[in-house]
Symmetry: C2
Subunit: 416 residues, 2 copies
């Protein structure tokens, strides 16, 4: 029988009732003869409570930046508690189980407290426990650095913990249990036509995560792709025997019938900035983007167009809505230096992306998109593309209509 890694997020372990419901999924895998390791998040709300305590303790003293060392020691206690509770519940059901903290395995990371990266994982102890039929309940999100200090992997880090563990123990599958039952062709809140996708390739999932689909963090999908870990997203809120199998994220070779377009992904957390009348000389645009990068502001969908005034250009780009105020501030500081005339900022925009591996070999995906939006009278501000994705920036008022129209146009209600 195979080794399986299962991961339960915060809402799946929010209280003892939910922990018992999640334990029933573990029981099923063990009774099916699998060797199981389980990675758990903190109980829903617990990480926020602990972070709030850290913040109440005050920002770091200027000369010392030991803040995040303690932050990690404090916040990692959330997963420690859940791992112990799930182990207790599994024991209660009659199974052999024990909790594993990051430092007990160990899960070795670099020194970047608060956003550590995994260097290596000792797989022997966990693998041995799994082989002798003991459920290994692993505290997610945490590791230990060379100085034996506790580190954390950043938000969504428990998914990364699970995928990394699945890679080192050679798991047949890494099942991510969450509060949705899979990845959908689009946000089901926007159209009833949205369908759960049975299988999706790593590349498509990565594009979807990067354009705003929130089911999985980009980082965990990247790691799964790099190590060939088959990831499955499914709900811990369905009964274990309901037969719903979630969404499998796997190599494209495993997907027999590939759709040309797999999903339409909206992102409402976008804002547009237009810098008007930038002198059209080498280095001026670069100056803008360097300043934004130095302020750690990510930008996307850059378009440069000629200004009405000769010798000047307009530059527009998008950024996350949360970063907009800082972007405007940073650009304001360099106005004299860059020599642009004025700035425009717009929060009422949304990015709609069409993602599909089939675009590599099928022409016409873009033209269907533009034609559909044109027919519906929806104006496109910006466009950006990758090999398997086309994104357009439109007014946010029109976003829901655009999603429904595109979902129809690509026939996604009949998805695999």
């Amino acid at each position: 029988m195979a080794r399986i890694v299962m991961k339960f997020g915060g809402t799946s372990v929010a209280n003892l009732e939910r922990i018992r419901a999640s334990a029933a999924f573990v029981r099923r895998e063990v009774e099916d003869g699998h060797s199981v390791a389980v990675v758990v998040s903190a109980m829903a709300g617990e990480t926020n409570r602990l972070v709030a305590l850290c913040e109440e303790a005050g920002p770091p003293a200027p000369a010392l930046d030991a803040r995040f060392v303690e932050h990690d020691a404090i916040v990692s206690s959330g997963e420690q508690v859940t791992s112990g509770l799930l182990a207790l519940v599994m024991q209660q059901m009659g199974f052999r189980a024990r909790s594993w903290q990051g430092w007990q395995i160990p899960f070795n990371t670099d020194e970047s407290h608060g956003k550590a990266r995994i260097r290596s994982i000792e797989s022997n102890a966990i693998g041995d426990a799994m082989d002798r039929g003991e459920v290994a309940v692993v505290a997610g999100f945490q590791g230990v650095n060379r100085e034996a200090r506790i580190t954390t992997l950043g938000r969504g880090g428990s998914d990364t913990s699970a995928v990394a563990l699945a890679a080192v123990v050679g798991a047949e599958r890494c099942d991510i249990y969450t509060d949705v039952d899979g990845v959908y062709t689009t946000d089901p809140r926007l159209t009833k036509q949205a369908r759960r996708i049975g299988k999706i390739s790593y590349e498509e999932m990565l594009e979807m995560a990067s354009v705003g689909a929130k089911v999985l963090q980009t980082r965990s999908v990247e790691m799964a792709m790099a190590h060939g870990v088959r990831l499955r997203v499914l709900s811990s809120f369905d009964p274990p025997d309901a037969g719903a199998s979630g969404t499998l994220i796997c190599d494209e070779d495993e997907i027999v019938e590939q759709n040309i377009v797999t999903a339409v992904t909206p992102d409402f957390n976008e804002a547009a900035v237009t810098v008007l009348a930038v002198p059209d000389e080498p280095g001026r645009a670069a100056g803008l983007f360097t300043k934004l990068a130095e302020a750690n502001i990510n930008i996307d969908m850059i378009v440069q167009s000629a200004s009405r005034e000769p010798g000047f250009a307009n530059i527009s780009f998008t950024t996350k809505e949360d970063d907009l105020d800082r972007a405007v501030e940073v650009l304001g500081e360099v106005q004299a230096q860059i020599g642009y005339k004025s700035l425009q900022a717009d929060r009422n925009v949304a990015k709609i992306s069409v993602v599909g591996l089939g675009m590599k070999s099928h022409a016409g995906v873009a033209s269907i998109m533009f034609q559909t939006l044109a027919e519906k009278g929806i104006n496109i501000h910006n466009i950006s593309t990758s090999e398997i994705k086309i994104s357009v920036l439109i007014d946010s008022d029109a976003a829901e209509y655009a999603v429904r129209s595109l979902h129809d146009a690509y026939g996604l209600e009949k998805a695999n």
Copy 2:
């Protein structure tokens, strides 16, 4: 300058405000040039919350007793959080500080989860940190066993952690900060005459702890005595500069003017059991006490007296009120075997103890006690004594009056 260990209990770290107040005491010691390690408990209420979660997860499965392994992993997270928060607050004040978990030091214990005993403490890392002026904030109550599993030391274990650490780093003093400002000649809620004791010997403190004074756990005082650690009990609720110096618990040689009697300690958590008409044959009484010991019920103040019926004896003893029902149940099970006639149980009793090193060399302490109680018309049920203590069992209704009368009779309102 000296090495100092400071310990803050749950009420002294109950929230960020209290943690900051406690940090002010640490600041004072550091500014006085001392090298400081601080041991912390969980925030008040946190251990109970975590224990309740464990209990909600269910009692141990019959065949497996791994329950307390997970219990310890879960419950120890409380001290982990406090240690991080106090380190953050100290950093915020401009000091170098870091948290230390039991496994990071390490604090090596035996395998007895839930009530582990300390085997050894690696003092190098902590000592080095102290020497370079870094405040070492140590999570109390926890250690690690040979299998690298987290263990806990049982209730009151943080005091034991602090004393053990003080012993291995050769601290000049171990200051236990709590919500009372020292050890009193009697419970101040019973008489306004009660006075804080400036210095008290280990032996007296041990007797007081064993007869119900709750300021310190017996175990931490025993350890302090064994290793010659000078312990001070003081309040974190007074301002750091108030000059109140608490109570020093130290070797009797350090106490220049020794009182004959140091304290009058009441214990209301007592119950009396009388077993009537036990056949007066060798082994019958032993049979009773063996059964109680097997049920892990502690008993005290044993008195055997002749029964009115020849060939039979009455045996009475005291036990903790919480254990009374189980004691009665256990004795009921062996009634036929032992052959006694009947049982009486009485919850309305209290034990009043008079403690003082001076009793070793001064006669008359007992006679003052008996005479005082007789004058006040207070009936004594049982008596037990040690070299430096006399305890009497009386009706609990009379306890407060007895305490006040004895406090007066020994002149304790003029204590050192």
